[in-house]
């Protein structure tokens, strides 16, 4: 082993110190701090399937979100924020591209953004001056992240912080071809044992998956989770582990790569609603909800009692997640990493327990599936601001670009959010839609469209086999439960909104055909 004498040791130490000083100085000199343009970090938390209609923060009767309420005390709170769609693919694509669903064309289950538009994404636009990290537990959202892979610096595997993996091969096992590996394995070769319509493409691998599913595995069971561990049907996890993992990443790794944009899209409170023991049974008392008859376009036929029970479990799961989120935010605050960070909390779509329908990816586009939370806490913000005009989740992209000091491209269909350079516009029109059975490569003729304008909501069902086209109109402020269809009563409003919606659809289809 080589030895150093005293002189050599002193020389080496001096060289190291000089090197370290130079490295530190050059980093400081080149940092945005020195140049007087300190860029803020941006932390985005997307909680999958979190309906604004179920958050006490927005006035829900059950106390589901005391911690979000506390967080809101120093945040901008958007009361009428709507997703571009009612399931992951469409809603997330609108958020990450700033485009309407009929433009980005991520319409179908596990669909992708139009291949010609993949450069229109938040990660590309914010630029490589930001460290761009993305993590989602939702495989369908990961398909979109895989499309934007070249614009993401750190893309964590979906099963990060998870316990139990159900299939033998995962898309992340093929890192060079993650985008198509999802379709090849998750959508075809592997057996998804919970899928009632499964027809796996591989016999041996699917038999192995099936055999694994038949063997009771202790990892899958926990006394803390009486309904089973939370799962996205591919991985099981605990909210505590996931949020601890995310917190650790922010505190220990990202803090060295400022400024950063971190996109965390977590599965909870998506079904199954497997809350931790402490939260199970906390909402035993029934809510005074008016029963709603099954809708002719409903794909489900759940009884009122079953829906009440699912609603209760969903609310418990939200409360569980809220507690974990509160713990994470306190931890991040204590560590000081939020001093120069915007924190955004939102969802990709909502959830619904009414009219025979359970879940979200349904033809029914009522407010519980489109109305999502949005809170933005700016660095140093000490008071709450409330915004009541309708906003869209397409607005997040331009708003984040504004925060980051970036130019907003002309093609963006979202607007700056009020409080971040935008103004409250009560006349704004927002167009959520669901077209999962319409080919992404064809004009949209089979879908449910919504127009939100002022306090009104117009719903248009078109192209459903065996049904005529149908409109419904509700006044969301006076009738938040959407019980009184005003379409044939408020003729003037109905006619104006119908014309506007039909013209918007025709224009979108015309533009698509031109493209």
């Amino acid at each position: 082993m080589p030895t150093l004498n005293r002189r050599e040791f002193l020389k080496a130490s001096a060289a190291l110190m000089a090197g370290a000083t130079f490295a530190g100085a050059s980093r400081f000199l080149s940092s945005p701090d020195f140049q007087g343009t300190k860029k803020p970090n941006i932390l985005m938390f997307v909680f999958d399937a979190m309906s604004a209609r179920h958050l006490s923060l927005y006035g829900y009767d059950r106390e589901t979100t005391p911690n979000l309420k506390k967080f809101a005390e120093r945040a901008s709170v958007y009361h009428n924020h709507y997703s571009g769609g009612n399931f992951t693919t469409t809603g997330t694509a609108s958020m990450l591209t700033g485009l309407n669903a009929w433009t980005h064309r991520a319409l179908n289950y596990r669909g992708m953004v139009d291949r010609n538009l993949t450069d229109r994404n938040l990660f590309r636009l914010i630029g490589n001056e930001y460290t761009r990290l993305a993590f989602t537990q939702n495989l369908w959202a990961d398909i979109l992240l895989n499309q934007f892979e070249s614009d993401i610096d750190i893309h964590l595997p979906c099963d990060s912080y998870s316990h139990f993996i159900h299939s033998s091969i995962q898309p992340d096992d093929l890192p060079s071809d993650r985008r198509m590996a999802y379709y090849a394995f998750q959508d075809f070769i592997n057996l998804r044992v919970d899928d009632p319509n499964a027809f796996p493409g591989s016999l041996l691998m699917s038999s192995s998956d099936l055999a694994r599913a038949l063997v009771p595995n202790r990892n899958h069971i926990s006394d803390d989770y009486p309904r089973g561990l939370p799962t996205n049907y591919d991985y099981s996890y605990e909210n505590t582990s996931v949020l601890d993992g995310v917190g650790g990443l922010v505190k220990h790794s990202l803090v060295q790569s400022e400024p950063y944009l971190a996109y965390f899209h977590l599965w909870s409170p998506h079904d199954p609603y497997n809350a931790r023991n402490d939260f199970v049974g906390m909402f035993e008392q029934d809510l005074p909800l008016q029963a709603k008859a099954r809708h002719p376009f409903s794909g489900g036929n759940h009884s009122e009692n079953a829906l009440r029970q699912f609603r209760r479990e969903y609310d418990e799961f939200i409360a569980d997640l809220d507690a974990e989120f509160g713990r994470l935010i306190s931890d991040l605050e204590r560590s000081g990493v939020l001093q120069n960070s915007y924190v955004i909390v939102t969802s990709d779509h909502g959830e619904m327990f009414e009219r025979g329908e359970l879940g979200h990816a349904t033809a029914l586009m009522y407010a519980p599936v489109t109305h999502i939370p949005l809170l933005i806490s700016a660095p140093g913000q000490v008071s709450r601001s409330d915004f009541h005009s309708a906003t869209s989740n397409m607005d997040l992209l331009p708003t984040i670009l504004e925060i980051a000091g970036k130019e907003i491209p002309k093609w963006v269909e979202g607007r700056l959010l009020p409080g971040f350079g935008g103004t409250e516009d009560p006349t704004r029109s927002i167009f959520p839609m669901m077209g999962k059975d319409n080919a992404a490569f064809q004009p949209i003729k089979h879908a449910t469209f919504v127009l939100i304008k002022k306090a009104y909501e117009l719903i248009f069902y078109t192209g459903y086999p065996g049904h005529d086209d149908q409109f419904e109109l509700y006044h969301l402020a006076q009738d938040p439960q959407e019980l009184q269809n005003l379409f044939s009563k408020d003729i003037t409003t109905a006619s104006h909104m119908k014309d506007e919606l039909l013209e918007a659809i025709h224009a979108a289809n015309r533009n698509f055909e031109k493209r």
Binding site: M180, F188, S207
Partner: protein, 176 residues
């Protein structure tokens, strides 16, 4: 070692049965899914999925063939090697058939049936054992197995190039 293996022509015949069954399943599943994919994927993307599935089929068929060859090497020749085409065909059809029935039961009845899903594949395996046991005595079983494996060879003219192209394509996608 070479002496413990069956003749090359016999191996080809049995492999043809194995490959045909695996690829047959995969192609059927592929066609079943195709209409859904046409809604959201372009033809190039669908071809990628097909390539991955064909590679999986190829690897799985090789695993079963290797299993049979290992049995030939390890056990006395009269167990499998001497009548490789007949016994190999019956074993392959039985093993792969039991996997088909296993996965098919889940598709039909759902995972909720639990261990009951094992009944049908177990019956197929018993039937296979019975046929294997009777194979040396019943000419009818022998001739069906031989003619089946003989006719299956024609599929290799399609499947082998397909496996080769798919494997090359998948390797290129994951190396580049």
């Amino acid at each position: 070692m070479r002496k413990r293996l069956p003749e090359f022509q016999s191996i080809i015949q049995v492999y043809a049965v194995i490959a045909m069954m695996f690829a047959g399943w995969t192609i059927t599943a592929f066609l079943w899914k195709l209409s859904a994919w046409l809604l959201l994927l372009n033809l190039g993307e669908i071809f990628i999925i097909f390539s991955y599935a064909m590679v999986a089929s190829f690897l799985e068929s090789m695993i079963i063939l290797l299993l049979l060859l290992i049995v030939c090497i390890l056990l006395p020749a009269r167990v499998l090697r001497d009548e490789f085409v007949v016994r190999g065909t019956i074993l392959s059809v039985g093993l792969i058939g039991s996997l088909m029935v296993f996965v098919g039961s889940q598709m039909q009845f759902g995972i909720e049936r639990g261990l009951l899903l094992l009944i049908a594949p177990f019956l197929v395996l018993i039937l296979t054992a019975f046929l294997l046991q009777r194979a040396s005595k019943l000419h009818r079983i022998r001739s069906v197995a031989v003619s089946f494996s003989d006719r299956a060879v024609v599929f290799l003219f399609v499947l082998v190039p397909l496996f080769a192209i798919a494997s090359m394509y998948v390797i290129l996608r994951n190396v580049s």
